[in-house]
Each structure stands twice: as structure tokens, then as C-alpha cells.
């Protein structure tokens, strides 16, 4: 064996997330210390000024979320990271980001809850909070990495989606993925796509900050300081950005916010299918538990059991069509997760009875093990 000079680096999940943000062109990070996400802030505190960007440790989680929205309005690519209790605190301003159509990335390294819960224990208990944590009816985009490499790649993707769709994007890690170390092949500049927000065309007269100009329904976004002097508010507003209580205008804004994500579905929804075609049983998994599923699936195949995996890389908007397609062929679906069936329930409603759906739900801070999944496969076959 010789020591080779390869590009692979040993990286922690949280570190890969921070480095992915830098690859994506982050200009501004605001955060607050909380286990198990703190390493993201620590890496960026060191790296941001080196890259000419800004890092600030704000006085609390609420302020961190506020600061990244404010910074984004000046044209910056922005991010914050948190865990459990901090994610709860960020919800109001996260919703502000959605309604004010401000690109930013919010990382939640999930830990065992509720409340202070188990700070160093992993969980996937915030899947529904990610979907509906902020009040009101709103769309949301959430990505879920299963490897340290994906912590890097999906952070880049999260920035791209935020910029393209003018919306906050969630990256849902868990303590296992955030703290584990494995090899990462750091892409060269240009190797991964990096998207920047669409600005109003030069010389635009009468710019309206919330008026879409094409079928994407995503309005071009000027920056504060560009000379357009537009108004931004969390109140429901018309295309000028000024508040209204005209019910028709309020309703159509909410509709458009949903529609722009719906129309972008092909770019947003990503899943990985493994050995689906002949599968009697399909495991639907995401985050760290997808790793247990992969091990269990290989062991099951060795035993001659026809098992496949549908890995949800995008969790929100939910890959309903992909899940339904799988359900039409398989007899049973197993959804292992570190909560009491948050995604299992969504799968169940998506498959409308076309396949039996079984859950495995760990809420003790222990990962779902390959053995648990194998036992369930035996049970349902």
C-alpha cells in the first residue's frame, strides 16, 4: 500500500456543509451556538473573512434568521444553521422570508426533542416542523443528505434553489450525518452548477419587486442600493410590495408562492431509486437512516429477498408521484425513521391504498439499525 495523493478529504458533515456554502458563493452567515450544529458556525467564522464574506454571531436564534433575510436583500447569498430549539425560534422569520421572497439557506441539524430534549442524540423529529413550523399556508423546500459528500453537494443545491426560486430553503441534517466524518471529493470550481438570482434587466423602468415577468412566477429581485427603492413587508402585499387587505390580491399572492414551487418541481424534487424494478418490498428512507436501509437492502438481496430502496433526497415538496409509482409495483413499503411516523403518514396518504405501508419509528436517540429493518422485511414478506 502506498500513500496516494488523491483529492478525497476526510470531513465532518457539518464542515462539508460549511464548505459547500462557500463553494456556492455564500457572502453572509449569521448564527447562534447550539449543539449539534455549532461546527458549521465555527468553520464559517474562520472561512468567511478569508473569502471576503461576513460572519456574525447574533444575540439569539431569532436575530440570526432576521439578519440573513436582511443581508439577502442587499444581494448577498446567506445562510444560518441551528438545531432543535433554535429551529423552533427561527420559525417566524423563516415565514417572513417565504412571504417576502428572500433567498436564504437554513440548516437544521436535527437532535432529539421536544424541548431541550437530547442535545447530542440524533433524531429526525422535525420533518413536520420543517413543513408546517411557521404559521399560515406556505410552500417549503427541504433537502435531506445521507452522506458527508451530500452535505457538501446538497448545500450547493440548496443555495441554487433558494436563488432560483426566491425562497428560503431548508437543509435537514441529523446529528449522525452532521458529526460523522467520511471522505469528500471536493469539486473543482465549475464542476457543480452555481446559480445566482435573476435581477431586473438593466434599465428597467417602474420595477415592481413582486411582479413575475414570466411563467416561472418568480419575480426578478433587485438589491437594496441598486436604485429601485422598493418596499418589503411581511404583510400580504400586491406586486408593488405594499400591503393590501384586498382578499383577491392576498389570496393570489399565496397561490403564486405555491405555484412557483409547484412549477419548479422537476428541478426541486430529487430521489434515488435502488433496485426498484423487481422489488416486492421498497424501503422509503432519508437522512442517516437511508444508510441503515442500504445495508439492510443488500443483506436482504443476499438472502434472495426482492427489496429495493426509494431514497428521498428532497423531502419537501413531497415526492408524491415517485412514491406512488413505487407503490403501484411493490406489495409493501417500509418507512424507517427516527420519529413516530411523520413521513410514513405522508407516504400512506400518497399511495392511496395501493401498497401496505409499515413504519419503524425510533424515538430514543438510537439510529434505526439494519437489523430492525431486516426484521420488518421478514415480517411483511
Amino acid at each position: 500500500m502506498t500513500v496516494t495523493d488523491i483529492k478525497a478529504k476526510l470531513m465532518q458533515g457539518n464542515q462539508a456543509c460549511a464548505e459547500g456554502a462557500i463553494y456556492a458563493g455564500i457572502n453572509f452567515y449569521a448564527g447562534y451556538p447550539i449543539t449539534p450544529s455549532t461546527e458549521i458556525a465555527e468553520v464559517l467564522a474562520e472561512r468567511m473573512p478569508e473569502e471576503g464574506g461576513k460572519f456574525i454571531q447574533m444575540e439569539d436564534e431569532i436575530a440570526s434568521m432576521a439578519a440573513i433575510v436582511g443581508a439577502s436583500l442587499t444581494g448577498a447569498k446567506t445562510m444560518t444553521a441551528t438545531s432543535g430549539p433554535g429551529f423552533s425560534l427561527k420559525q417566524e422569520n423563516f415565514g417572513y422570508g417565504i412571504v417576502a421572497e428572500t433567498p436564504c439557506v437554513v440548516v437544521n441539524v436535527q437532535r432529539l426533542g421536544p424541548s431541550t430534549g437530547g442535545p447530542t442524540a440524533p433524531a429526525q423529529g422535525d420533518m413536520m416542523q420543517a413543513r408546517w413550523g411557521t404559521h399560515g399556508d406556505h410552500p417549503v423546500i427541504a433537502l435531506c443528505p445521507s452522506t458527508v459528500q451530500e452535505c457538501f453537494d446538497l448545500t450547493v443545491k440548496a443555495f441554487n434553489l433558494a436563488e432560483e426560486f426566491r425562497t428560503p430553503v431548508l437543509l435537514l441534517l441529523d446529528e449522525v450525518i452532521g458529526h460523522m466524518r467520511e471522505r469528500v471529493f471536493v469539486p473543482q470550481p465549475g464542476e457543480l452548477e452555481v446559480v445566482d438570482r435573476i435581477k431586473p434587466e438593466a434599465g428597467t423602468q417602474n420595477y415592481l419587486a413582486y411582479q413575475p415577468v414570466d411563467s416561472t412566477l418568480v419575480p426578478p429581485m433587485a438589491s437594496f442600493g441598486d436604485g429601485y427603492r422598493f418596499h418589503v413587508t411581511g404583510l400580504l402585499h400586491d406586486e408593488t410590495g405594499f400591503p393590501t387587505n384586498n382578499s383577491e390580491v392576498m389570496g393570489s399572492l399565496i397561490e403564486r408562492l405555491h405555484q412557483k414551487i409547484e412549477r419548479g418541481r422537476e428541478k426541486i424534487v430529487i430521489v434515488e431509486e435502488i433496485d426498484i424494478d423487481d422489488a416486492d418490498v421498497v424501503i422509503i428512507a432519508y437522512g442517516c437512516v437511508a444508510r441503515s436501509a442500504q445495508k439492510a437492502q443488500k443483506m436482504a438481496r443476499k438472502k434472495g429477498q426482492k427489496v429495493g430502496i426509494l431514497r428521498l433526497i428532497t423531502v419537501w415538496p413531497f415526492p408524491e408521484e415517485e412514491v406512488l409509482r413505487v407503490a403501484e409495483k411493490a406489495k409493501a413499503l417500509i418507512v424507517p425513521e427516527m420519529n413516530r411516523g411523520q413521513i410514513k403518514d405522508v407516504v400512506q396518504s400518497a399511495v392511496v391504498g395501493k401498497a401496505e405501508v409499515y413504519g419503524i419509528g425510533n424515538v430514543d436517540g438510537e439510529m434505526v439499525s439494519p437489523c430492525q429493518i431486516l426484521a420488518k422485511i421478514e415480517e411483511v414478506l
Binding site: 500500500m1 500513500v3 496516494t4 476526510l10 447530542t120 449522525v176 467520511e182 471522505r183 442500504q294 445495508k295
Partner: protein
């Protein structure tokens, strides 16, 4: 080395076992292998129990947690008690007899080395017990190459401690050679 190695390093916080796990994983990657390192620790970073897990393989690693270890290092009585049964039948168990007395294995092959004592008296500081331990592990298993281990150690330690750490590795290699020769 063709097999997949599931490695567990157990001791108390402050013994540098998580750093040890990281170094081992980094060395494996330098060797062109696949490695995953994970850990668990109490909120206090010193004195509590500490566990680092590393899996090293030629293929992609799915599940990142170690169940029954192929290699176990124990550097505290608590860790010895807690982890000694969570090993494979043919596991290699390395015991730091500075702190773990009267170790009784139920399975696996045991190698006893006074790791912390050697770190303090031969290498010069107990602080480098984790590095002595890594050399012992590599001496028994060749799980990573010696050159990769050295490179990984030197890339993870504070500047100015290179000689101390190199000495620690030499102490570890020598100690395990003596144990192997005596056997």
C-alpha cells in the same frame, strides 16, 4: 488488508480517542480506502466516557455505526466493562493495562500494553497516549500503512509537537513488537 474493519476506541474524555479515530480514518483515506468515523460523548468534553468508532473498508460503507467490533481498544475500566462483549468472535482487543486491570475477555484475542504509562515515561507525556495506542493498533493489524499513519498524525497535531508525536509512535510500535515477539 481486504476485510472490512469495524473499530471501536473506548476510554474517558480527555484521552484523545476521538482525535485518534479521526487520525485512523484520515490515514485510511490516505491509503486510498473508504472510511467513516463517528463518535459519542457527553456534553462535558473532559473526564466523561468517550467512544470513537471507525469503519475502514475497500468498498462503500453503508451503515456507519459499529455493532460488534473487529478491533477494540479500551483505555478505562468503564470502557472495558461496557464494550468487551460487543466484539466479533475473532476480534482483536487491545487493553491499556495502565488503567484496566484483570481484563477478562469472553471472546477475541487480547493484547495487553501499558499504553498510558509508556506515553508518560517513554514518550514524555501522557497526552500522547492516543498516538501510542494508534501505533499499537497498526502494529497488530496493519489496518492502515505506517506511512499514512504518520502523515495523518502530523496533519492533526499542534505545531511544535511533531517530535513528541513521532516519539510516541515509535514507542507504540516498539511496545507491540515486544508483545508480539513474546507471544
Amino acid at each position: 488488508m481486504d476485510k472490512e474493519w469495524e473499530i471501536r476506541l473506548g476510554g474517558t474524555g480527555g484521552q484523545g480517542l476521538i482525535t485518534g479515530g479521526i487520525i485512523l480514518a484520515e490515514a485510511a483515506i490516505l491509503d486510498g480506502k473508504v472510511a467513516v468515523q463517528s463518535q459519542s460523548y457527553g456534553p462535558e468534553s473532559r473526564g466523561g466516557s468517550s467512544k470513537a468508532e471507525v469503519i475502514i473498508s475497500n468498498d462503500e460503507i453503508d451503515y456507519m455505526k459499529v455493532k460488534d467490533a473487529d478491533l477494540l481498544l479500551v483505555m478505562s475500566p468503564e470502557a472495558a466493562k461496557k464494550y468487551k462483549d460487543e466484539v466479533k468472535e475473532d476480534a482483536i482487543i487491545i487493553v491499556d493495562t495502565t488503567y484496566v486491570k484483570d481484563f477478562e475477555a469472553t471472546k477475541g484475542k487480547v493484547y495487553e500494553v501499558k499504553i498510558s504509562h509508556l506515553a508518560r515515561h517513554e514518550a514524555g507525556r501522557e497526552l500522547v497516549a492516543n498516538i501510542v495506542a494508534l501505533a499499537v493498533i497498526v502494529g497488530v493489524t496493519n489496518v492502515v500503512s505506517r506511512s499514512a499513519l504518520e502523515q495523518a498524525v502530523l496533519s492533526r497535531i499542534p505545531k511544535g509537537t511533531e517530535e513528541l508525536n513521532k516519539k510516541a509512535m515509535a514507542v507504540g510500535f516498539k511496545a507491540i513488537e515486544e508483545v508480539l515477539n513474546a507471544a
